[in-house]
Amino acid sequence: MPLLVKGRSFLRNLFLTRRVEQDLDHEVHAHLQLLIDENIRAGMPRRKAERAARMELGGTEQVKEQVREKRLGNGLHALMADCRFGLRQLRKNPGFTLTVVLTLALSVGANTAIFSLVNALLLKSLPYPHPERLGTIYARVTGARSSENPINLDGERWELLRDNVATLISALSGGTSGVNLKAGSRVQYVRNTRVSAHYFDVLALQPLLGRNFSEDEDRPHGPKTAILSYDLWRNTFGSDPGILGQAILLKGEPHTVIGVLPQDAITPSNADVYTALQPSREGAGGGSNFDVITRLREGATWQEADAKINSAWALRARRFENEYPGVHLSYYSVPLQKGETESLRPQVLALMLSAGFILLIACANLAGLTLVRMLRRASEVATRLAIGASRWQIQRQFWIENLLLALLGGAVSIAVGFLALKWLFLLLPEHFLPVASVPLDGRVMTFTLVVSVLTSVLFGMFPAFAARRVDLRSSMADRSVVRAGSVRVRQSLIAGEVALTVVLLAGSGLLIRSLIHLETLPPGFNPNGVMVAKASLDDVRYHDPANFRKLLDESTAAMRQIPGVQNAAVGLTLPYERAINDGVTISDGKEAGTQDGTDLFYVTPGYFETLQMPLLAGRTFTDADGPNAQKVAVVNHAFARKFYGGSNPIGRYINKDTLIVGEVADVSVVSGLEPVAPLMSEQAMYVPAAQVSAQFLSIVHVWVQPDWIVRTAGPVEGLTAEMQRALAKADPNLPASGFYSMKDLLARTLTTQRIEVALLGAMAALALLLSAVGIFALVANMVAQKTREIGIRMALGSSIGQVMVQVGRSGAAASLVGLVLGLALSAGALRVMRSELYGVGVYDSTTIFAVVLTLSTVTLLATALPALRIASIDPARTLREE
């Protein structure tokens, strides 16, 4: 009860201020009247009565103030008054406020955007029930060589895991690819993920309609079934509730729909349609092609599960250890989230680090700005101290102003972060991130708030300390005091931020040089004038080699009819793409029996001619290299070097019965064998599309789509439509999944590098901008504060130029120190980037030169622009002003 009364009083005092004040005013006046009345009754004359009454009361305002101080909620009242005063101060200095808020918005905004990536990728739990029970499996190799890597499963390991490890519910995913779906008369290109039974049980996803795949449907040659995503069900099938049990034509054969996923279902692949993987030890299961996910059963521990996995796969591990003596192989579970995001972790953390740099730079700027502002307000502080304000009150005022700025900046930075994320998503290709969304959730908001306030504390500390040293007499007397000490503090702040900027500039410079190196690698063919169409042949009709040959013959013939087209061909795959890998055995000569991996391409006659790949020896393919003719192959130069020591490979036999008939130049590809760079050349063999086996066709098109290529001399406008028409002539149910120029394919391959350049480049640009603002502010402030001194110098005969150099020197000197410091720092820090650099070393003179040039230009601009104001100083006027 008393608490209730107190609360009511508190709120009344806080919000009904006017009523409470009026009441108090009336009360005090009434009291005065009563006193006067009393005195008159006691026989005093009116004037004397009034005087005596006033004496006794002791000043109405003082009494009222004493009451106010004792009121409940007085502290909060004072705080609000401070806030109001603070806001007024900020409004009075729009330039300062704008600079601070923008600096905070840009720096904290960048941090917000990057942190929301960190949050979505590394911190947020996976969107499934009990995410801590979800895992994947890693292999740990120790001994002679060591590694810790996620593993893919083959059919054998899968069966051992499924049948022997009961503590886990395990499931496989066979990867996601584009396939054709025929609904009614329309053919549609959709994303299909092949998953094993219990896949959705591991994720704990219950279908909206129907059920998950049964173990029966997951057996090899089991019934063909499909589960639809909600979006596909709604958009293509009009949310038909009777869809269950109906057959849809997927990959050229009917699949019975057995389920529809709920609307908000998120899977690691977010595919449109799911089919049963039907894994076995044959086909795709003959190699390690399956991703595994596991869910720990209730009551079991990960230690138990790992022990079971290791015993189930013990024989496999022994086989590996026999093959590589001196190593030990074991398996262990890793949280699914970590497994999914592992590959992106270093990049994301590097981004977070550079975002931290940006924040430090911003802090240095803000500290400099508030320090100047503080010194300018020295006389105000002195006045307030003189009329009795306590130092605590003055300190509190400054902290409140900083806090207001922090909150203002924080609010704007959330908007900036939101926009930056939008921009980032424009940059990222679809399905690049292994998460469905990057939300600005509560954790991100809290982070932003904490960072803004912390920044405010960091840059608020300086002026607050300065305020403690304000000397009453000197501050009130002096109008402009440039303390040498304060300039030196600001100069070191700027040197520090320039140093960090240099590190970011050098880092992004090296990435840019790498990207340029990769983009300008000699391609080994002529990429200009080539247009590419891709289409999915993951279709039961094209498991038959005769159908496959007919399609290729008819479609390439139709494409050659397009006006302007000089040549057309089909190949799996193209330069700049990841080729499929296969083993090859040398069958004759002294190298006989040598076995190794190679890139494997199937191509139609005309492939080398269309791409204009130079033929080094022998011949290319012709229509005569048919299914019943001698099996032939063309190898590249790297192949000849690797297997034949560079001697002529023509006439040699590989894989028992395949005759090498030609040698072509190397092209840049994405390596699947031993990747040391995103683009490189490695051993490759090309076989005629007409000679590949049915078994090969049924596997390979699940993973990779072949490319139809044309070389044209004419314009490329309308070419894609013509290509689609040519494709439809051969098969009306075969839509192209996309059209690309060779440049597009190159860009697609270098996506990660381009994103790295864009992100780090943006960070470096931001850092440069902030540093420029810092230098600009320093020099501008020097000009403003030294106006009188400059006036005197000019009156004494200094030229404008001399004075400008004299003033601008402060900024340039700080920047120079920062540059040297930054270069030294880069030499150490950038060594961690080595694995991301191609064709360029960490100590790259071009990059260093570019950094020095950029920084010098920016420094020159940032010092010259404010120094130009000196030209407008009129010595006579500045001297009269005193």
Partner: protein, 110 residues
Amino acid sequence: MSPEPTTLLQGTLDLLILKSLATGELHGLGISRRIQQITGGTFVVKPGSLFPALHRLEDEGWTSSFWGDSENNRRAKYYRLTKTGRKQMEVESKRWGRISWAIAQALQAS
């Protein structure tokens, strides 16, 4: 009796105000005069101390106030004890009684 007012002990003023209201509602000046009267003129409460105390007691919920007419038809703010205020007064009186008894004992002992 010396007109020089004795400095009030901390907490005494609250108790004196509550006590002065025990017999009925009073306005500010009335309270001041009543305290003067019941303490035999020992304590003269200045408005600078009286008003903050009045407002504090009201914030605490021990008194409530209303506007009324004074004996010579002036509008004045009147205070009266609330139920919790009366309880508070009893508690405070007992405490004060104990303290003053203890002090008296201590002074006599020497």
